[in-house]
């Protein structure tokens, strides 16, 4: 377990920063803006899973104080396509925690192109897409005070467009492993969906069981429940792509990119996660190995969860999760193994 992994007051966070450690803080931007300069990075969200239940919190911040054995090598900022340097900047043995604001140039590039970055899977990268207080959500807003942000504790600056990474090294014999909890499985009766455009975030037409259709129209006509993501199987690793909360017209903006050479399927909740009382995602975690994690806010919002696997593991509720590449409707966490 990290030394600290919980919601704390900003006064306590201030003391921690002044004590000289390296931290991640996650919270409302007003709370993060109160923190002094120091060795930390921050990302915005007001939503958390605490003791297996979803909570909204705007005054406290969630702290991750990384295990003492992990040495912070550097903090890197990335704008737009420079985020492709994230693997080059990561130490040979260690892990990278990456935060990217929703809708930022960095997150869009990462979503579309990370799976092609050379050596991406040789160095563990976990993190999430930062969000905001949902009643303020307006993707078209030009007011930067109400957009998802990252914070660079070294300078005290926040930004709506920069990704920020903490690169940690680990001593020989210790390994960081990125894991996921995916509460969804492909429906047995799902058609196979293939997309035309590669790396697409905006989807119009697709091949459904080989027949070209307008996908938004198909989803509506066939009454597909679009609270459930579509899913592709990457040699055993199931990757979700979240569908938008509303579908209108003949185009839809996906939360993560889809790729033309993958087969996607509609999903349902996996049998082992159907009983929300028994399937708390926290039960999957080994506290001795756990470093940090996050879970998708969409599962909480779409399924009104207040417990169980769909609520996710303890930690921030996020607007996209990073398990090397960006995924959706998933819990992602990092463990340390020997």
């Amino acid at each position: 377990m990290p030394n600290l992994y919980k919601l704390i007051d900003t006064s306590e966070a201030t003391e921690l920063i002044r004590s000289g450690g390296s931290f991640s803080f996650i919270g409302d931007e007003r709370a993060l803006a109160k923190l002094p300069k120091g060795n930390w990075v921050g990302g915005t969200t007001c939503y958390f899973t605490i003791d297996g239940k979803s909570v909204e919190e705007r005054d406290k911040v969630f702290v991750i104080d990384y295990p003492a054995v992990a040495k912070l090598e550097k903090i890197s900022l990335y704008k737009g396509e420079t985020v492709s340097n994230v693997t080059n900047d990561a130490p040979e043995n260690g892990f990278t925690i990456l935060f990217m604001p929703a809708g930022s140039g960095a997150s869009l590039h990462y979503s579309q192109f990370a799976p092609t970055y050379p050596g991406l899977f040789l160095k563990p990268i976990a993190g999430w897409i930062t969000g905001m207080y949902l009643p303020d959500w307006n993707p078209a807003s030009t007011h930067k005070d109400k957009l998802p942000k990252t914070f660079n504790g070294l300078t005290g600056e926040s930004d709506t467009d920069s990704a920020i990474a903490m690169h940690f090294s680990l001593p020989q014999g210790k390994f960081a492993i990125v894991k996921t909890i995916n509460p969804f499985v492909a429906r047995k009766d799902s058609p196979v969906i293939r997309f035309e455009g590669n790396n697409s975030l905006i989807v119009r037409d697709a091949f459904v069981d080989g027949k070209k259709v307008n996908l938004p129209k198909y989803i509506l006509e066939n009454k597909v429940d679009f609270r459930f993501p579509i899913q592709a199987n990457y040699s055993g690793t199931l990757i979700n792509v979240s569908l938008p909360p509303e579908i209108q017209g003949e185009e839809m903006l996906l939360h993560q990119a889809v790729f033309s050479d993958m087969d996607y399927r509609f999903t349902e909740v996996a049998p082992e996660f159907k009983d929300s009382q028994k399937s708390c995602a926290n039960n999957v975690i080994d506290p001795k190995k756990f470093i940090a994690g996050c879970s998708c806010i969409l599962n909480h919002l779409s399924f009104n969860t207040n417990g169980g696997a769909l609520c996710g593991i303890d930690g921030p509720l996020t607007f996209g999760e990073i398990c090397y590449q960006i995924v959706g409707n998933t819990s992602v966490y990092l463990e340390m193994e020997e």
């Binding site: 799976p115 899977f121 040789l122 390994f175 492993i177 990125v178 040699s235 690793t237 050479d261």
Partner: protein
């Protein structure tokens, strides 16, 4: 230190894996992503150069994480090892 059981790059099991003739589901998240990415690359570009680039990345991955992939390695390469 565990003794390596990883077959050499010349073992034909690698080609079968990367050309999609062996279908294997990994439980190790990064392994699935890494292998699937390289299978797609080999499918997209059928040149020997493309295969060798894919093999280098997958082999390096398996070497780094071998201790977590022992069962996968046994499953993917056992038949090939017995046949050899």
């Amino acid at each position: 230190m565990i003794e390596s059981i990883l077959p050499s790059k010349e073992h034909e099991g690698w080609r079968k894996l990367l050309e999609g003739q062996i279908s294997h589901n990994f439980s190790f998240v990064a392994a699935g992503l890494c292998v699937a990415r390289n299978i797609r690359e080999v499918r997209r570009n059928k040149s020997e150069e493309s295969y060798n680039t894919a093999l280098s990345e997958v082999y390096e991955f398996f070497r780094k994480y071998e201790r977590f992939l022992i069962n996968d390695i046994r499953e993917i390469f056992t038949f090939e090892m017995e046949a050899a």
